[in-house]
Symmetry: C2
């Protein structure tokens, strides 16, 4: 696969008839630094009232996008760069993108959970009827032990779903508001201004080592890809490719499942996949985005969905631990948690399918 992705004969990799070197990296970093500063200016112009305007949110996304790419390039191509500078810069960029990501994450998580609750509590369209010569199934389907009177009993679950939605709304809106002011404080902090200044310098001069101009970028990009493929190889892909393996909900009621430990290797692959994509961008230059492997994007989207469902499931489990909630609320949150854990399982299946396509295409 490495050969396939980084074929030396690939014209994209030989912009001026030579292999991409430190110059290509410098160009990429300057471009991302400029992008960062543009987004920062935009963010300040659009201002940011509570919950942020759409333009401000877009500006924040652009800030994170460039911060992630700079951070990733410093990681993948560190041997070509001033290592002290890299080591001070990277955690700061991770702090910026991490801090700016929170508000959007809570907004998306709440939307995902309320959408799922809506789906789960819609009214049904199928007429209930069991016919045939044997009434066993009919008799048994109805007989699941003593039942309280239908009306209040039936109201119960719907009320539970509504209460669960209100509880999640309260908790995640509060978390989002906190994340919003944390982000605003961060953007106004001297720590952030120091980062912005460093990025401003980066936009004009990239701290390349003297050797960088003669150094081929591709082996470093290949190393990044190999870190990805090694991590993917360690994933339980055979299980994931077998539908309804019920693996994601295993231990769903165990004490240690918020966050769910079995998700960690998948989260890590998500990060390594992103590093691989950004390394390709650095090699292929500004047009990199246009030619990025679609299957790689599919796999990445599956892993984003995996991450989002995993955290939504954790939020539902977390809400269920709120003291003094009604049993019907807790029940609805349990159904919701399991529903999102199955989304996690579905996302792993989707990733396995996308990844298979990729390796098949490579062979």
């Amino acid at each position: 696969m490495a050969q396939r992705h980084l074929d030396p004969t690939d014209p994209r990799l030989r912009p001026v008839g030579t292999a991409p070197t430190g110059e290509a990296l410098a160009g990429y970093l300057r471009g991302q630094a400029t992008e960062f500063l543009r987004a920062l200016r935009l963010h300040r112009e659009t201002g940011s009232g509570a919950n942020g305007s759409e333009a401000a949110a877009e500006a924040a996304r652009a800030l994170r996008r460039s911060a992630r790419r700079i951070s990733a390039s410093l990681h993948t191509f560190q041997p070509l760069l001033d290592s002290d500078w890299c080591e001070t810069m990277r955690p700061e960029l991770a702090w910026v993108s991490g801090t700016l990501a929170m508000e959007h994450a809570y907004t998306a998580r709440l939307e995902r959970l309320l959408t799922a609750l809506h789906r789960l509590s819609g009214s049904t369209a199928f007429p209930a009827q069991v016919t045939g010569p044997d009434t066993t199934a009919g008799a048994r389907a109805g007989d699941t032990g003593p039942r309280p009177p239908a009306a209040p009993d039936r109201g119960n679950l719907t009320v539970g779903a509504a209460k669960a939605g209100a509880l999640l709304d309260r908790q995640l809106t509060l978390a989002r508001t906190r994340a919003h002011s944390t982000a605003l404080q961060a953007l106004g902090s001297s720590r952030f201004h120091a980062v912005a200044d460093k990025v401003a310098v980066l936009a004009s001069e990239v701290p390349l080592l003297a050797t960088a101009a003669a150094t081929d970028l591709r082996p470093h990009a290949t190393a990044a890809e190999e870190r990805l493929t090694d991590a993917v190889t360690a994933l339980p892909l055979v299980t994931a490719g077998n539908p309804y393996n019920a693996a994601a909900l295993v231990h769903g009621l165990s004490p240690d499942t918020v966050p769910h430990p079995q998700d960690a290797p998948w989260h890590q692959v998500r990060l390594l996949l992103r590093l691989h994509r950004y390394a390709r961008e650095a090699l292929t230059g500004p047009k990199g985005n246009a030619v990025v492997d679609l299957r790689l994007l599919d796999a990445g989207q599956a892993l984003n969905r995996h991450r989002d469902a995993s955290e939504a499931a954790a939020a539902a489990a977390q809400a269920a631990r709120t003291p003094r909630i009604a049993p019907a609320t807790a029940y609805a949150l349990g159904v919701l948690h399991a529903d999102q854990r199955h989304e996690v399982e579905a996302a792993r299946f989707a990733f396995q399918q996308a990844w298979q396509k990729e390796t098949v295409g490579a062979s």
Copy 2:
């Protein structure tokens, strides 16, 4: 498909070089009636203390097996038989198999639910770690709103699973005990003795119409198969064949979902599939079981699993409606309900796969 299953050139369908007629049906009914009486005698010998001995349970299974087959034959081949006799006999046989099925059903349902709870509350084996150049996912995975202190909080869910198991154990054991005494009363009732007497008569003389000896059984068996294929055609098989369609849990929190109305068409196909299998048995004679289509068995097993998971999910939802349960108990029951609804979805997928194989094999 009809041609494939009921190929007139199939030697099994021409035991003595002729098409199977009323005589074959009579032979099959006499055999099943004898089987019924043998199982009944065995059941009386093995006695039946509370929860019944293993031998008594096996005898009850054999009683139901033959009762179902006689009832099914009366349904499929009624035109060859005395219709008044059929109309009085069939509901009685359905009552017998239905009544005897309950105790076993509650036992199996409790076992299924406790097994699922055990799987859901086991402790995990994966180390939690998220590495990589970007700490965003790490930070977010942990940050899902304010958390109460870990220890009691973590105990909570496990306690919930344990309490849920105890609650289900109480409710389903009570239901099973009731079903057991109901079955004993039924077996001692004059109504049952009347059925047993009718079956004893059937074992020696089958009320065939005069025309039956010259009537080909196969068109009636074909009609049974067509009722099955029509019902299967009406199922949402495209959705079912698409893994993780999340269809089974839709409306999982709606007021009308115990029993789940969307399951009814699948339950009905399960019954029609059984009728089709028994009709084949009647045609192919005593060796029928040996030559029954394995894919048909797979499809049938998938539908049994569908039925069992559907009723287990309903029992979990039902238990969650018990007044004054703890939120942690209700949460565990919600997770369990959703888990079983996904079993329902998985069973539909398995049925679709088995059924596809079948039609592929036929073409």
